[in-house]
């Protein structure tokens, strides 16, 4: 059983070697052939660039001094140093991977979060995929006016999906997205990821420094810096939708939570002890799915072949595979399909983990 969604290919990392010049093998070839190889490589690189580079109509980058600001107009720019922050980088990477996963079936690969999203094309596809509805916009637009037109429709839909009304919001606008304002784009993506329960773990409390430039009077600019929160602390990454006892438990009786955890730990250990395993911490010891698989075998009286899951998972995908496999086993033996997604469990979402374990507990608590 593989993960339910085909994975998009990772952004290929160009081998560094090419930049450094000839390799050993280039040197031992004949001169003619060497030339041939070079030519082929050059053409390949050019073709690759032509394919990979964003087809931007206003490609030449406009240096900041070209910005013409009207009087009293403000413009917010992310401080370049913030982009070097590893946490911001991580957030961008997670978002890119999420978009690429979602859009893998459409053969869309995003490489740069601002360059590839500003024209609304990818945003449109993303929203169509997430909200499962078709937007009434032209497929491809080349002109800037067309792009803005499209972006405004897409953003209206986004706002509708997020807040229930197409009214413009403060954090993003057609102008800010189209001008590749990374702060706006990040806000937009984070909001979408949260709303549609993206199966990713966003780094928490990511902040960027934003420089706001204001033209006070002709030929006079003032600027100030402030810190903008892109993400905060989340405790609800797993579930959205109907609330259940666990939501109430988390919100109103955190002290009781410990009791619940303790009885669940006792329950799982009663069974896991049979195969010489012991769990101390529910929060972290179930996320890789290994214990879940073994537990299913112990509870239902079968052996789980060791080739069907990863006994020592190495990466995220293997963990997701394990949890997804455990979910399959649960459904095979007649348990309801867990509401959580495998990714939630792997992403250490405590509430989802507890829900899954509690389901097992309800069915099997009286088992010796």
């Amino acid at each position: 059983m593989s993960s339910p969604r085909p994975k998009s290919p990772r952004t290929p990392v160009l081998p560094k070697k090419e930049d450094k010049g000839e390799s050993f093998w280039d040197k031992i070839g004949t001169i003619g052939r060497k030339k041939g190889i070079k030519e082929v490589q050059e053409v390949q690189a050019e073709g690759k660039y032509a394919i990979d580079s964003p087809g931007s109509p206003n490609a030449p980058e406009i240096p900041p001094e070209e910005y013409s600001l009207l009087d009293n107009e403000e413009r917010a720019i992310i401080e370049p140093r913030s982009l070097e922050d590893p946490r911001v980088k991580e957030l961008i990477q997670v978002l890119i991977e999420w978009i690429n996963d979602e859009l893998a079936m459409q053969r869309i690969i995003v490489k740069d979060i601002s360059e590839d999203l500003y024209d609304g094309q990818v945003l449109q596809k993303l929203l169509e995929k997430l909200a499962e509805k078709k937007l009434d916009v032209p497929e491809v637009t080349q002109s800037e006016e067309g792009q803005r037109q499209k972006l405004s429709v897409v953003l209206k839909e986004v706002n509708k999906a997020l807040y229930g009304s197409p009214k413009p919001v403060q954090k993003w606008s057609v102008d800010s997205v189209h001008s590749k304002n990374i702060v706006s784009i990040l806000h937009l993506l984070v909001a979408l990821a949260r709303q549609f329960r993206a199966p990713v773990r966003l780094p928490e409390n990511v902040r960027v420094n934003v420089v706001v430039v204001k033209k006070d009077a002709p030929n006079q600019l003032s600027h100030r810096t402030y810190i903008e929160d892109i993400t905060t602390t989340y405790d609800d990454l797993g579930m959205k939708g109907e609330r259940d006892a666990f939501d109430a438990l988390f919100d109103h009786a955190p002290d009781k939570l410990q009791v619940v955890k303790k009885s669940l730990v006792t329950f799982v250990n009663k069974h896991l002890n049979k195969v010489n395993l012991e769990v101390m911490d529910l929060d972290t010891q179930f996320h890789d799915g290994v214990h879940l698989c073994l537990l299913m075998g112990l509870l239902e009286g079968f052996f789980v072949p060791l080739y069907d899951f990863h006994l020592t998972p190495q990466d995220f995908d293997q963990k997701v595979h394990n949890v997804a496999f455990a979910f399959e086993l649960m459904q095979d033996v007649g348990l309801a399909k867990p509401k959580a997604r495998p990714e939630d469990i792997v992403n250490l979402d405590l509430k989802s983990t507890l829900r899954v374990l509690y389901n097992l507990f309800t069915k099997y608590k009286n088992m010796a």
């Binding site: 079968f302 072949p305 069907d308 095979d332």
Partner: protein, 518 residues
């Protein structure tokens, strides 16, 4: 009509061979009067076809509606080479048909003196009376009477007339099989009259029922969702389980695909599985003697050898079959048969193994594509041998104590290379009841309650998950209890070699088992 019976009558050896090569064809099926292909070939005297049928495992003591065996027909029609061939294959020479006639009656009546002499030399009784009270000697004339009388005396036969006894109620007859069994593979679910639910297991529900006047067992597979894809896989996989061409394989007769139900149908076996015979019957106290144990093991090994010979053919990749005692059925004549209906379809029980105790350690760790199937099965076979061996009566017990309260039943084995008589007895009072299986000689035994064998299911005290983990990762192995015969325990060790490459193949252990039988 162009069918196998016609070809056997005509002696069309080529057509018969082509027909036999198809595993879906059942050579033990009978025609309208229960004549099997072997009956026809013997009646018409086609020696080549008789040889071929016997070699492929046709039942030699099979009967038609008049309870004639092929030997009756060969003797009555004067085919001496065939009579000799049948005699070499340990046919039952004194088998009587509906009239109480033995083959010797017919040879005498028709005056085939050479055949009559052959039969007497092979142990045919000259003083066995039929329903009308006539012995074979009464049926013949002239010099032959004198000659047969002399031979019989030389053989040490008692010349007193043996009165006719109707034994048909004993269930010693093995009729040829109803041909409808192998004729239809797609079965309408409405034609199944299911009446009793036998078992509910994780793989599905098992029911007893009747179909086309046959006792059948129907297994309704447990599938989470009967999607078109599952139906397609099922439809592709089940015909491969219709293996009618070997006596030690119990084929899937047919299947119903009527979503949401997928049903696998096979013949009903009154003895149940080897597991229930060994561990379930008579309150869990069954004993088998050494000969019976070896005989059952030999049956299984023959069936497995045949299965693996099919597997070598790339077009005949079978669904996964896990060898264990639950997946072996016991036929009415106590032949062990590998139950193809217990194979696992590709969509069935994914990621769940319910009987890891019988599985080789590597089978618990490696995906099916990376296993040596025969070596894995060989390991399972060793566990099976161990199961049989731990059921054995300690030999010294058997010889020293006497039986109490025997309610025995005799069974004659109908398969071709044995003509042993099974002694099946229920011994003891209510507290100490045991089912005793013995081959060849009556087993005399008294079981003390504390001696009555403990349920020797491998690793019965561990749950599947525990025992699987221990076998795969901690080197848990069965231990051979003292008292198991040294031959069997040696064979178990050979078959369970930790080095996969060093385990024998089923073809290699067949001669060993044959030797042990003697």
């Amino acid at each position: 009509m162009e069918d196998i019976f016609q070809w056997c009558r005509e002696g069309n050896a080529l057509q018969v061979r082509v027909w036999l090569d198809d595993t879906e064809h059942d050579m033990n099926q009978g025609d309208d009067h229960d004549f099997s292909p072997l009956h026809w070939a013997c009646k018409e005297g086609h020696q080549k076809i008789v040889e071929m049928l016997i070699r492929r495992g046709a039942r030699i003591n099979v009967t038609n509606m008049g309870d004639d065996t092929p030997l009756h027909l060969a003797a009555a029609h004067g085919h001496r080479p065939i009579v000799q061939l049948l005699l070499q294959n340990r046919v039952d020479v004194n088998f009587t048909n509906a009239h109480g006639n033995s083959p010797l009656h017919y040879a005498c009546f028709w005056g085939y003196s050479a055949i009559a002499e052959d039969l007497v030399l092979a142990g045919a009784l000259v003083s066995l009376a039929n329903r009308d009270g006539d012995t074979p000697l009464d049926k013949t004339r002239g010099q032959l009477i004198q000659r047969l009388h002399e031979l019989a005396v030389q053989q040490g036969q008692e010349m007193k007339k043996i009165q006719f006894k109707d034994q048909s109620w004993l269930g010693t007859r093995t009729r040829s099989r109803d041909a409808t069994l192998s004729r239809h593979k797609g079965i309408n679910i409405n034609e199944l009259a299911l009446h009793t639910r036998i078992a509910v297991t994780p793989s599905g529900e098992t029911w007893r029922g009747r179909w086309q006047k046959n006792d059948i067992v129907a297994k309704i597979l447990a599938v989470r969702e009967c999607s078109p894809r599952v139906q397609r896989d099922f439809n592709e996989e089940f015909p491969k389980l219709r293996i009618f061409s070997h006596p030690n394989i119990l084929p899937v007769v047919g299947c119903c695909i009527s979503p949401p139900s997928l049903v696998v149908i096979c013949q009903y076996m009154s003895w149940g599985s080897l597991y229930s015979l060994l561990h379930g019957g008579a309150g869990g106290r069954v004993v088998v003697d050494a000969a019976a144990a070896v005989r059952l093991a030999h049956d299984v090994a023959r069936g497995m050898a045949y299965l693996h010979s099919l597997q070598k053919d790339k077009d005949h990749q079978l669904p996964q079959y896990h060898l264990n005692s639950r997946h072996i059925m016991i036929d009415e004549d106590l032949t062990a048969r590998i139950n193809m209906a217990d194979s696992k379809f590709s969509f069935q029980e994914k990621g769940r193994m319910y009987a890891p105790a019988w599985m080789a350690p590597e089978a618990l760790q490696r995906p099916p594509a990376r296993r040596n199937w025969e070596a894995c099965h060989m390991w399972s076979f060793a566990v099976l041998l161990w199961e049989l061996a731990t059921r054995e009566v300690p030999t010294k017990e058997a010889s020293t104590v006497t039986c109490i309260n025997i309610q025995g039943r005799l069974l004659r084995n109908g398969s071709n290379d044995f003509d042993e008589i099974w002694y099946v007895g229920i011994f003891g009072d209510d507290q100490t009841t045991s089912l005793v299986l013995s081959l060849g000689k009556p087993l005399i035994i008294k079981l003390q309650p504390e001696q009555s064998s403990v349920a020797q299911v491998p690793f019965a005290d561990l749950s599947p998950m525990e025992c699987g983990m221990k076998i795969a990762l901690e080197g848990l192995r069965i231990s051979i209890p003292p008292g198991v015969s040294p031959h069997i325990s040696k064979l178990i060790k050979i078959c369970m070699n930790e080095d996969i490459g060093k385990r024998p193949s089923f073809n290699m252990i067949l001669p060993i088992l044959e030797k042990m039988k003697k």
